[in-house]
Symmetry: C2
Subunit: 484 residues, 2 copies
């Protein structure tokens, strides 16, 4: 290929090589004797410095070399005189591909706010922070595929458009080709979806799990990794209307196997990022440290970004039941002092503050909670035998809790008993007929099986240390936000 990435030049080429490098100008600096141009092509966080003698470049060329302009520079790779780089390019010739008018180009060599950069999401990958985030996002995605491939899982593309609305995981987007103003109506005055593209009402999927289970009950171990959608009108730093989910499902896995897999999976993927994104992570670690310094002492975090990642991969996750966790929380200092915003007692859904207390204060380790109350979990989770330890019925759920973020993985062993599953669906108001195909896996060759879900952006948020989920996906989708 005719294009030589700067990462390759910096890492592998010996001094004395004649090179042509191509990239975008980050900065231009002129001294008495020379012009220094820092070029970046996105292959790495680092720039390469190209140097010309003063007077060497024609004035009208020099004028076009401004931040954001795209150049090809040919010259000799030489040892750098300056600090911070081993090599630089002694410019022999320059070709200007495309200038960037400094009066109009929005990305100038200064610190831009993340809010401003969100408005120019089409250009923000040209900044250090976003290019680092996107390269790490790539590495994490690849690590996910590699992990499952190495471990005998098959990638299953579950449908994006679905007629199944029984999952109850959240509000859905309608997908339609009917006339927007005057849709055809049936005799009852309702929309006649039999005339819609798919002959029925369809929505964007909120989860590939139910179809994933169909795959697992045939192929053994499968995983999904694709977009999912929630039409929830919540403008927070933790929610997107469109996000990517990873959902493995495994035949013959019980709760214990599921926990082992989740822990090994998330550790392996984070270890991969540490090994393959050292420069980008060092940059973000430093960025976060600078940000922390601007905070009040008591709001500063004890752990830096790299510390936090090491914390996860080097600790064995603590495993305990929801019931035991409630005991700990009820007897905790913050509970006794009334410092929790939400009160805690057996049966409530844990809030992020409770989860973080367990991870960050009590155990100082990542935590897996299991055997949650049935009433706060989904219908498809396997019901536990009655036990004296819990004050009410529980299911074989597991949530993996991380520092800073709370729940990062949610999963369970699935109910494999047809009668129990149907009874539970009826209790929570789901028509068994609507999920006839799901129930068929329990009618024909049912087996113990389990799985979990991981929101990919949550993982990227954790690994990059960014504060807003809209900054870890290239083009975020949220209420009133669908530009680009």
């Amino acid at each position: 290929m005719s294009y030589l990435p700067i990462q390759h030049v910096l890492k592998t080429l010996p001094v004395g090589t004649e090179v042509t490098i191509k990239g975008w100008v980050r900065t231009k600096r002129e001294s008495k004797n020379a012009v220094f141009i820092a070029l970046n092509d996105g292959s790495t966080i680092h720039t390469i410095q190209a140097v010309a003698e003063t007077g060497q470049l024609p004035e009208d060329t020099l004028k076009l070399i401004t931040t954001g302009a795209c150049l090809a520079v040919t010259g000799l790779l030489v040892e750098s005189q300056g600090a911070g780089q081993a090599v630089e390019v002694k410019i022999a010739s320059i070709q200007i591909y495309g200038p960037a008018d400094p009066d109009k180009y929005p990305l100038q060599p200064k610190r831009h706010s993340l809010e401003f950069l969100r408005e120019i999401a089409h250009l923000r990958p040209r900044t250090n922070t976003f290019s680092a985030v996107l390269r790490i996002r790539h590495a994490l995605a690849f690590a996910v595929h590699k992990y499952f491939n190495d471990n005998g899982f098959y990638y299953l593309n579950t449908p994006i458009i679905t007629a199944s609305d029984a999952e109850g995981a959240g509000e859905m987007f309608r997908v339609t080709t009917l006339d927007a103003i005057k849709p055809p109506l049936n005799e009852e005055g309702k929309v006649d979806y039999s005339q819609d593209f798919f002959g029925r009402e369809t929505n964007l999927t909120v989860s590939g799990q139910l179809e994933g289970e169909l795959g697992a009950m045939a192929l053994g171990k499968i995983y999904t990794f694709g977009p999912t959608f929630r039409a929830e009108n919540s403008n927070t730093t933790r929610h997107l209307a469109e996000f990517w989910m990873i959902e493995p499902e495994m035949a013959f896995f019980e709760l214990e196997d599921n926990m082992n897999l989740a822990e090994d999976f998330v550790k392996t993927v984070i270890r991969y990022a540490l090994q393959n994104c050292a420069d980008d992570l060092a940059f973000l670690d430093n960025r976060l440290k600078e940000e922390e310094k601007t905070k009040k002492k008591e709001e500063q975090s004890d752990m830096g970004l790299l510390d936090k990642l090491q914390f996860v991969i080097s600790n064995e996750f603590v495993r305990l039941t929801y019931t035991d966790a409630i005991d700990i929380l009820v007897n905790s200092k913050p509970a006794k002092k009334g410092q929790f915003q939400y009160e805690v007692s057996w049966g409530v859904d844990l809030q992020s503050e409770h989860e973080r207390y367990l991870v960050e204060k009590h155990f100082k380790k990542p935590v897996i909670l299991t055997n949650y109350p049935r009433e706060i979990k989904a219908f498809y989770m396997k019901q536990d035998e009655e036990s004296n330890a819990a004050p009410g019925p529980t299911v074989r759920a597991m949530d993996v809790l991380f520092p800073g973020i709370g729940e990062i993985i949610g999963g369970s062993q699935r109910e494999d008993n047809y009668d129990k599953l149907v009874a539970r669906m009826q209790e929570v108001g789901i028509e068994p007929e609507a999920l006839w195909w799901y129930l068929d896996t329990r009618r024909f060759g049912s087996a113990p099986h389990a799985g979990f879900g991981l929101g990919f952006e949550r993982l990227v948020l954790f690994v990059t240390g960014m504060g807003n989920i809209r900054d870890v996906i290239p083009f975020p989708r949220a209420p009133k936000t669908a530009e680009f």
Copy 2:
């Protein structure tokens, strides 16, 4: 993990090992002295045989061991007496996880039609054909990610829900949360999309390319691999309403680099499947040979499935211009004998019959056609300098043509000149304002760049030799089809 895949047992465990295998019964056969149970768990196309002596298993257990039932079998791995397998399991104990009532279970040990299996897409991965197709689909997807990762590309998740409707690649699905019967109207009596979830009209993406270009103009080399959608009411064996696309975009790549990449990419991915899916491909090769035998002699294909894959990876792709290809086609036997269904002359879009003639009859090699007439290609393709060789204006497009399938990859160098791009948009009726963000990459630091698109299901279709695209995706979406 507690679950030992059958693939692992067959490939690596020595005779004499005590094993517990889990899987679904494919067949049960009883001889005078023994019962033979063939078990499959989806990890491989092969079954493992479990053997019990006659009378060893209680009658009521034996009755439940029918096709589709799920079992765990514990016993000693021994050399097999039968033909076709090296080892089998001498049953010590059996646990039945879930029976499959033979009067109700739709998958019986006989040949089912693909049409019938499409109606039970939730169960068809339990058949040999579909499990082979899905394992190959997985291997191809992994090979795609591996190829791009190995070659310095970054995976970019372009948006699924998009407000941009200017791409013109096809009919779109509307995404909305407005009231289905009485949407809010504005003063002009049109739907007031400012009240919709995203504050504007939104659709499902038809291509990630335009956003992909934004990524390439920052990160250098990117690729997308995600779902795309077409709301076209065409019920064919080649079209889906929801399918997965792979779209690499590369800064600093020109047409020649783009061709080199496309050829290397598709060969590498197919080679990966040949190396990693030998058993599944052998099964499908054989399946296709059996199918061919049922056809009339003159309709039988010269090449088997494996032959066709070898044909692609072992031949250098022929590269020629559209203009030269038209010359060849106009002077071809079928054109002179009037055997083409569609007439061919400079300026027409080539039909599959023309593409296949070039590949299968004329060159007997995969072909890359370049420099197509501007009028039949998309607005974003880079315009060629005028040339005497072509009778009209051309663009730096390239299509890769394969045997049996015709076009498998379509791409181009992209127009990087702002003025030419705007002029072309206006000519074809696209508002430049609607794509302001796309044009910004040509305003600020523009550079030569190129990319292409590959419909993933087309690739899976080619590699598996299946005849209908609905049979290479787990849950196909097509007009009036959105079950599961």
